[in-house]
Symmetry: D2
Subunit: 313 residues, 4 copies
Amino acid sequence: MGLTIGVDIGGTKIAAGVVDEEGSILDTHTVPTPPTPEGIVDAICAAVSEAGKGHPIEAVGIGAAGYVDDKRATVLFAPNIDWRHEPLKDKVEQRVGLPVVVENDANAAAWGEYRFGAGQGHEDVICITLGTGLGGGIIIGNKLRRGRFGVAAEFGHIRVVPDGLLCGCGSQGCWEQYASGRALVRYARQRAAATPENARALLALGDGTPEGVQGKHVSEAARAGDPVAIDSFRELARWAGAGLADLASLFDPSAFIVGGGVSDEGELVLDPIRKSFRRWLIGGSYRPHAQVLAAQLGNKAGLVGAADLARQG
Amino acid sequence: MGLTIGVDIGGTKIAAGVVDEEGSILDTHTVPTPPTPEGIVDAICAAVSEAGKGHPIEAVGIGAAGYVDDKRATVLFAPNIDWRHEPLKDKVEQRVGLPVVVENDANAAAWGEYRFGAGQGHEDVICITLGTGLGGGIIIGNKLRRGRFGVAAEFGHIRVVPDGLLCGCGSQGCWEQYASGRALVRYARQRAAATPENARALLALGDGTPEGVQGKHVSEAARAGDPVAIDSFRELARWAGAGLADLASLFDPSAFIVGGGVSDEGELVLDPIRKSFRRWLIGGSYRPHAQVLAAQLGNKAGLVGAADLARQG
Amino acid sequence: MGLTIGVDIGGTKIAAGVVDEEGSILDTHTVPTPPTPEGIVDAICAAVSEAGKGHPIEAVGIGAAGYVDDKRATVLFAPNIDWRHEPLKDKVEQRVGLPVVVENDANAAAWGEYRFGAGQGHEDVICITLGTGLGGGIIIGNKLRRGRFGVAAEFGHIRVVPDGLLCGCGSQGCWEQYASGRALVRYARQRAAATPENARALLALGDGTPEGVQGKHVSEAARAGDPVAIDSFRELARWAGAGLADLASLFDPSAFIVGGGVSDEGELVLDPIRKSFRRWLIGGSYRPHAQVLAAQLGNKAGLVGAADLARQG
Amino acid sequence: MGLTIGVDIGGTKIAAGVVDEEGSILDTHTVPTPPTPEGIVDAICAAVSEAGKGHPIEAVGIGAAGYVDDKRATVLFAPNIDWRHEPLKDKVEQRVGLPVVVENDANAAAWGEYRFGAGQGHEDVICITLGTGLGGGIIIGNKLRRGRFGVAAEFGHIRVVPDGLLCGCGSQGCWEQYASGRALVRYARQRAAATPENARALLALGDGTPEGVQGKHVSEAARAGDPVAIDSFRELARWAGAGLADLASLFDPSAFIVGGGVSDEGELVLDPIRKSFRRWLIGGSYRPHAQVLAAQLGNKAGLVGAADLARQG
């Protein structure tokens, strides 16, 4: 099989990319994300048609946030778009005239990293995506594991603190409330408000108030040695590493891959995550340890992974 | 392939059973559990030889508590026996002259239930064993999933309470400290000590003191309507169900099977676990729900499962 | 000393009442709460003047939400009004020509109950007010204890869950997030969303959706036997009683008084709070137990208490 | 009034000291702690008689661990000695022929620090004693506050982690399980076991194993820069400071005094406690902050405080 198209649906733009068997992106077309559910379907079709022009495309893979059913056809629920039991596969197939596979976006990103990124050579890999929230994907025995109903690997919503922080999902204490980009900013703001004298560099990067602190400021201040920023990364890593230790108890993979925007900071965040993982790993003296690896494909992982999943049929 | 032997290593006795392709136990031999690690190896071999007499045995499967390596040959660590990197497969093969497979006991029990018990007809099943502690096994795509290094499915040691109760594993807040037979007894004793007037039936079954309360007393008193006993089951179910909800977020199976001694109480414990599972399941309105089933093989699950895993080679 | 005026500043109206030495309210005047900080000062003065007409008033006591300084003169910080270091005593004294005492509203309510309500005859009393949030007051040795800087008894903001729910105060896991009217509604909505089949009576009282559930619906449904409503009260009581047990370890009073809107439900909420208190009280077999009493003055406690504190000078 | 005797009952020895009005110890006599409850009474009397020889003693104050009743006469419950409703005052008065006051030992130590140590000049002081466990004392308005029944200020047993660590008191999640000398050692051992490569200096001070680590090793290693030892003190301080923030919400004192063996380490532990206190103090921008002071009397605080309380009658 030859070329396929992968689609990534972002909050501001939708990207369609032509991907070959080696995972290289040959061509890309992006369109702004429309405000309505139906408009987004239109935009996906338009981006696919445009990107595919002049290429012999054989299939399309779409990565979508939310629950996708086990037939990889219907979006059962999307957190950010008003899709409920949306027959996305059928709609797009009718319009673009190509076989379509719909996949959860974090699953698609996990598959991309497994096939062409940090996971190459591993048969059993767990990926976590530390973006605004926390997503994940499971590869066991060289296959993406989607669960019986298609909604496995919702790592962000395991409960790590009983009676903990409210989550957008309606529950409390979900992991993504403690290990994500949003959590990092909250840690920094809380600490800057309580002890501004330890957050001078951090506060200077924004508008001087704790509320003005953004994610990029935390990274920049941490690199500059700001105590509050460093402590915020340490707190993030405390929760991320402890969660990976739980995932090791459950899945025992040979490698974890940490992706998402937070992981763009590289060792600034990966080194403390590794330490925290070791700290909390159960039975660490008696078992081989999984590696904790940085993702390699950046924000292309989902698009490339979706295209490759479409190729596999 | 025909008959195989499954071995179950208990704290007081070791049982070897001849099992056919339908999971029926044709013959059993049990010996007392010796006090020394090497004595236990001797006893396993003796039980296997004795049970197999007169049967055309083709292989032996041994279920052992602890970490078993990915070759299903070596016990890396056992919690109750002083085995560290114990080459159990080689030792027993040399002595009994049959192919041997070593498997984690909770994995073996999960496989037994999947093949011949409550899990029949399901492709993706998660089993939890509520015994003294909490063990588990993972079946995905009709295969037992052991992890890359053989130590997956250690459900009992995921952290459900940060800074929580000390666990025998050296960590804190492990699930088995909150959902297990031992936890049930602790709940009952604490409540009986604080409010003895609500535990009259429960206390009367033991020696009258909270310390005298045993697991069987809690079940019996709960059936008789003792408020403290009922509340203790409810607390157990609160933690068990919330943990199953986490496992649904991770694995999305079509069924959970609840086994182990605690599950012998049937609906007394299963009904509140189901309610708690529904209470905590994320996205429950938008997804198919896994069934929560009672195990069917009782304490034979491990032996039968180990025998069947040996048959599969 | 004879008559004094107590002032209660509510979200929708400001009430001034003329109170005699027995705690009886002789006359009341209420005005709508203006939207601006300065408007509220005007409204307080107007209500005081109006209520006092024809009475020989000797002093004024004002109960205000927030931090009041140790001189009982300045509101250091108010959560709902934009008062920061507001010299309320001086402003009102200049305008009404009477001595003024400013007091935290929960302190005033505690004093009212101690003097004329459920606390009569006790020397050491702890009051908690379960309203929208959770406030409190401390009486030790027949005196209101305000702390060195005036900001003691902020019971609602002790941390009962590390890394718990966000609180309006900027911290996490504060007691008032788990034991208050707002918490009760959250418990009911979460449960009704997860298991609507157990919340039929509750949902029928609102608009049929979990979001439509209000506090009064939970009480009404609980009285009608709705399982989710009853369970929501039990959860509230679980946290309220455990917190009282902590306060017993700290203060060892002879009585707790539970006031605020939630306590209007009487034994529906007090009985489970008492049970939870007993469950969690440390050393309960070796110590006398404090009583847990329902407040008697309802929403007049603050006004009456403020007036009496002004009388005492 | 002139000289009084203070008695300190330790695990290995009982000390009686003659104390003057300035809190100076003029004479001391110590005897080994006998194994039986009645033997301890004998030993107290003997130590008092011996220490008082040649001094005009007017009264005796005894500091005892556990619950002491509101008449300061009877030990209701002692954790380490088998005293239950022990009429200690009467027994000792009959034997030594002097007025006797019995006081909780942490209360006595708090009073000692308030009168002659770090608390001088403050009217409202909260003392915590970080020894093996965590004890405390409350001074409000220049008086020791014992509660209505004598058992106030049991700070060590407020619940800081729901479903947390088991405590000797029978409850779970008590503060002293997270902030005490015993907790410090647990932190160090857990971390040394998980990451021995970061605990080389620490492990070298004991027998090389995590179990061999003692409290003094953690201090010594922390001063030498051992990462695990430093992190253990930080964890202790995290919990100690957060608890002080809760006490500030409740009591709003002008000063906290931190005593007990752990505080002998001075700024090594006090500096991080202060930082943690600031981090968690509610409303820190709008209120005066209590000072966090090191105790000054060391292990003499209890003896001196008990003697002074006896003088006050």
